[in-house]
Symmetry: C2
Subunit: 74 residues, 2 copies
């Protein structure tokens, strides 16, 4: 879709919560490290399924990890 209106707290959560490395998170959610890098860097936003998996990895509801920045209809 548009230009990445979805942000996330993955990096913070890795450190603050669980002190997880990119590789550990990647393994936990079943993707490659490059995917985690891309998400942290905001290159694109994940599939809904991956978003759920990541949220679960942090034991958080999805919307506490990913957030939508509203543009349309101000």
């Amino acid at each position: 879709m548009g230009k990445n209106l979805v942000g996330n707290h993955i990096r913070k959560l890795r450190f603050n919560h669980d002190e997880m490395t990119q590789q550990q998170l990647a393994d936990k959610v079943g993707v490659t490290r490059q995917t985690i890098v891309a998400l942290e860097k905001g290159k694109y936003s994940p599939s809904l399924e991956l978003a759920f998996r990541i949220a679960r990895a942090f034991h958080l509801p999805l919307e506490e990890v990913f957030f939508y920045q509203d543009n349309t209809k101000p």
Copy 2:
């Protein structure tokens, strides 16, 4: 990712909540009707961004429209 572990209540919500047609919902969230059809039929799960938009269209948090069916780690 895997084989569609994500379900949704789009169809119910269209009827029960807002009595919206597929076309109206499609317009509201900025995709084609075919995308809505595919999602309702469970052909695939949407991008995270689209999921946010759809949830917003129903004035609901994302996890009340989409849900993750756990498989791994029983």
